[in-house]
């Protein structure tokens, strides 16, 4: 099926057939000669399509070319030019990415709220913070499992992903979905976290606190993991700063760079968030993959603390300034102005820019910047001089969320469903009912 499509001469969008041939052939190998190894766009090491072409000599990497854009969907174009109103764009923004699914709506709603002059009530700010931190836990655990899989250590993959189920259950309890929570709306949040849900959240936090040491032990004190990650994929602090790396990628190199600390937003100033670097674990930051694991695991601990404090200090009040959607839409239509909204997603800084024009439903300009965008350039120094065996773990260590970065257009599959939609929906409802008991 896919092959027929790729060869369709009228197809204006898909890349040409030569792409496939590159994967199959390679130049002759001579002693000491350099030859090309293509990784991607489809490859077990990569969870998303991206093409990395390496020039290798034996096992040493001597050059790399990175080609992105296989998952580009034109989301900004869809938002700006196809006549969508801001609430429809909010749904779009949520689906830019599945793993960091609340990061984009949080940044986007802040940008629009700045542009339109909408205030967010305190309780809504706290709820946004709680859901964001829960997402951070789930995303870092997911990454930890993926990194273990890249190293060939499947047992850790199964362990972390099983452990992650708890936070996904809590998110489902609070928002009704495991990803794409649809919580933020302009002026507040759509769902409240009611006091009878607090005990469940606290119980999940207790569970994670109990497991925390075990996780640290399994990852940081395992000899084979250390052998594979220490001194691998080094990003020096100077390089990280010049290439404007963000998130754990930058913090592992020792830069104390965290949007929640540097430019506080929502209720984060209440929690005095400090950027975590390997120094907090007693190490001198080198910027290798090991440091990145350290930073991400410690951030899980930090998120647990933040959620605990947020639950304790949860202010009373309404959850949105505009409870009625038509009133909100009318206000947004009249609004004129521009605004920037930012958020520290699990992968780094997410920033949205919006310019609204009075009388128009669609924004004039909508620009999205995902964290992996800023971290792309840091791949080059990380790959230099490393070995072919390290490619997957270095590719994975910046926690690439290519769909976030590409904001791409997925071509429909034409697959046959063995489960009908009704069947799946019923299955999902049953699970929620089971959890509510």
């Amino acid at each position: 099926m896919k092959e027929k499509r790729a060869q369709d001469p009228e197809d204006p969008v898909l890349p040409a057939v030569e792409e496939r041939e590159v994967l199959l052939t390679g130049p002759e190998v001579g002693p000491g000669e350099v030859f090309s190894v293509p990784i991607g766009p489809i490859h077990p090491a990569l969870k998303e399509p991206i093409r990395l072409t390496f020039q290798v000599q034996g096992e040493r990497i001597v050059g790399v070319q990175i080609r992105t854009g296989f998952a580009h969907r034109g989301i900004e174009f869809m938002g700006m030019r196809q006549g969508r109103n801001l609430i429809q764009i909010l749904y779009l923004s949520e689906r830019i990415c599945g793993i960091c699914s609340i990061s984009h709506p949080i940044a986007f709603t802040q940008a629009v709220e700045r542009a339109a002059g909408i205030e967010v009530p305190p309780r809504a700010q706290y709820i946004r913070v709680i859901i964001s931190e829960l997402e951070r836990i789930h995303s870092h655990l997911l990454w930890a499992g993926v990194a273990a899989h890249e190293l060939g250590f499947d047992t850790l993959l199964h362990l972390t992903w099983r452990v992650r189920e708890k936070v996904l259950d809590i998110l489902e309890e609070l928002s009704g979905n495991r990803i794409n929570y649809a919580i933020p709306i302009f002026g507040g949040v759509r769902r409240d976290i009611t006091p009878d849900q607090y005990p469940k959240v606290r119980e999940a936090l207790r569970y994670y606190r109990g497991l925390f040491d075990e996780l640290l032990d399994a990852f940081l004190r395992d000899p084979t993991v250390e052998a594979r990650t220490r001194g691998v994929g080094i990003l020096e602090p100077k390089e990280a700063e010049e290439l404007c790396a963000v998130g754990p990628t930058a913090r592992a190199s020792g830069l104390r760079k965290d949007v929640r600390q540097d430019r506080p937003y929502l209720a984060y100033s209440d929690f005095e968030v400090k950027a975590i670097t390997p120094e907090d674990y007693g190490l001198t930051p080198v910027g290798d993959v090991y440091d990145k694991i350290v930073v991400r695991l410690l951030e899980v601990g930090q998120s647990i603390e933040i959620i605990e404090k947020a639950l304790e200090g949860m202010p009373e009040g309404e959850i949105t300034s505009f409870p009625k959607i038509p009133a909100l839409l009318a206000h947004l239509k009249k609004a004129e102005g521009e605004g920037l909204g930012w958020h520290e997603a699990p992968r780094g800084e997410v920033i949205h820019y919006v310019r609204l024009v009075s009388g128009e439903e669609s924004p004039l300009v909508w620009k999205v910047k995902a964290p992996t965008y800023s971290n792309l350039l840091s791949w080059y120094p990380m790959f230099e001089g490393q070995e072919v065996a390290d490619i997957p773990i270095i590719a994975a260590c910046i926690d690439p969320c290519i769909c976030c970065m590409d904001r791409v257009y997925l071509v429909r599959n034409g697959k046959e469903e063995t489960w009908t939609k009704e069947g799946l929906l019923r299955l999902s409802w049953e699970k929620t009912r089971r959890m509510r008991r």
Partner: protein
């Protein structure tokens, strides 16, 4: 023995070896799954996998050297099956005893690895080439400790008057543990340890599965193999597991329990055979399953250095201790 009798026994051994090999692979996956808190595939999964591979299309890449590419799976399977015929199985002597000895088994064990490497080189894919290079580096690294272990045990047994030397059948009838002194015991433990570390490397299992690294080179030297050829490599791998474990059993755990239970004749043989299957299973669990669940994959230079320096040192120490033991015991 008449040629036809040998042939009949060979067929029996090969068929039995295949069934046991695949069944043990299923057990390995099930146990690994339970160690990871999963349910795992059903025990008959490897049979289903093999069956499915046999009916799938076999693709030969345009850029491959077709005759080498196609011949290698058959070579691997033939070598593994032949190795099975030189292995003492349970209370029975090796079927082809007298036509070759332990040194031949060493070569036969190396042939499938070479065949896979050649297949990778011939596949025309850069990923296959990288995988094949790694397989050869690994092969060269672990062959030396393996040879040291085999030679050490065979030599010490021959000094005790067991003849012919290097005959696996003879080695399997006599246990070395009771016949050596304390120095020899330590030496034997070191040699057993080395063999258990070489076993997953020989079979290309984690932490030594770098030639096939799934997440790095998409299957490495196996990347272009599909259908029948992949099925044959799969079969060769299953049988090699039995052979390696059987080798460890023949060298270090040659005991039978029929005598202890007071059985003899056909009943004794049957019990001993089952016991042998159990021993092979335990060796597999210790050397392959537990290890692959508990470790990450090591890089090829780490493996090469590890084997050339550490494991060789351990094996040579074992050999040295056995030699000293001989001197001491006289």
């Amino acid at each position: 023995m008449s040629g036809w009798a040998i042939f009949g026994q060979a067929v029996l051994a090969v068929v039995g070896g295949v069934i046991v090999g695949l069944f043990y692979r299923g057990l390995d996956r099930k146990i690994a799954a339970h160690m990871q808190a999963r349910i795992g595939p059903p025990l008959r999964q490897p049979f289903l996998d093999l069956g499915k591979l046999l009916v799938k299309e076999t693709v030969i890449p345009r850029t491959a050297v077709a005759w080498v590419f196609s011949a290698m799976p058959f070579l691997a399977v033939l070598a593994s099956f032949t190795a099975l015929l030189y292995l003492p199985i349970g209370p029975f002597r090796p079927i082809l005893e007298g036509y070759g000895d332990a040194i031949l088994v060493l070569y036969l064990l190396a042939v499938p690895a070479l065949a896979m490497a050649l297949g990778g080189f011939a596949s025309g894919s850069p990923l296959g080439v990288v995988g094949a290079q790694r397989e050869l580096v690994m092969l060269v690294s672990y062959e030396f400790p393996l040879a040291v272990v085999l030679v050490a045990v065979a030599w010490r047994l021959s000094t005790l008057g067991i003849a012919p030397a290097f005959s696996l059948g003879a080695m399997a009838q006599h246990s070395l543990w009771a016949a050596v002194g304390p120095l020899g015991l330590i030496g034997l433990v070191l040699l057993l340890g080395s063999l258990l570390v070489v076993t997953p490397a020989e079979l290309a299992k984690i932490p030594f599965d770098i030639p096939e690294a799934e997440t790095e080179i998409a299957g490495g030297l196996m990347v272009e193999y599909s259908g029948t050829y992949l099925a044959l490599f799969y079969l060769a791998d299953a049988v090699r597991t039995v052979v390696m474990a059987g080798l460890a059993v023949a060298l270090f755990i040659p005991y039978g329990i029929a005598g202890a239970l007071g059985l003899s004749g056909a009943a004794g043989d049957a019990v001993d055979l089952i016991f042998w299957l159990f021993k092979v299973f335990m060796v597999m669990v210790a050397a392959v399953t537990t290890v692959r669940v508990g470790m990450a994959r090591l890089k090829v230079d780490q493996i090469a250095r590890g084997f050339w320096l550490r494991i060789t040192a351990v094996a040579l120490s074992g050999l040295l201790l056995l030699a000293l033991d001989k001197v001491v015991m006289g």
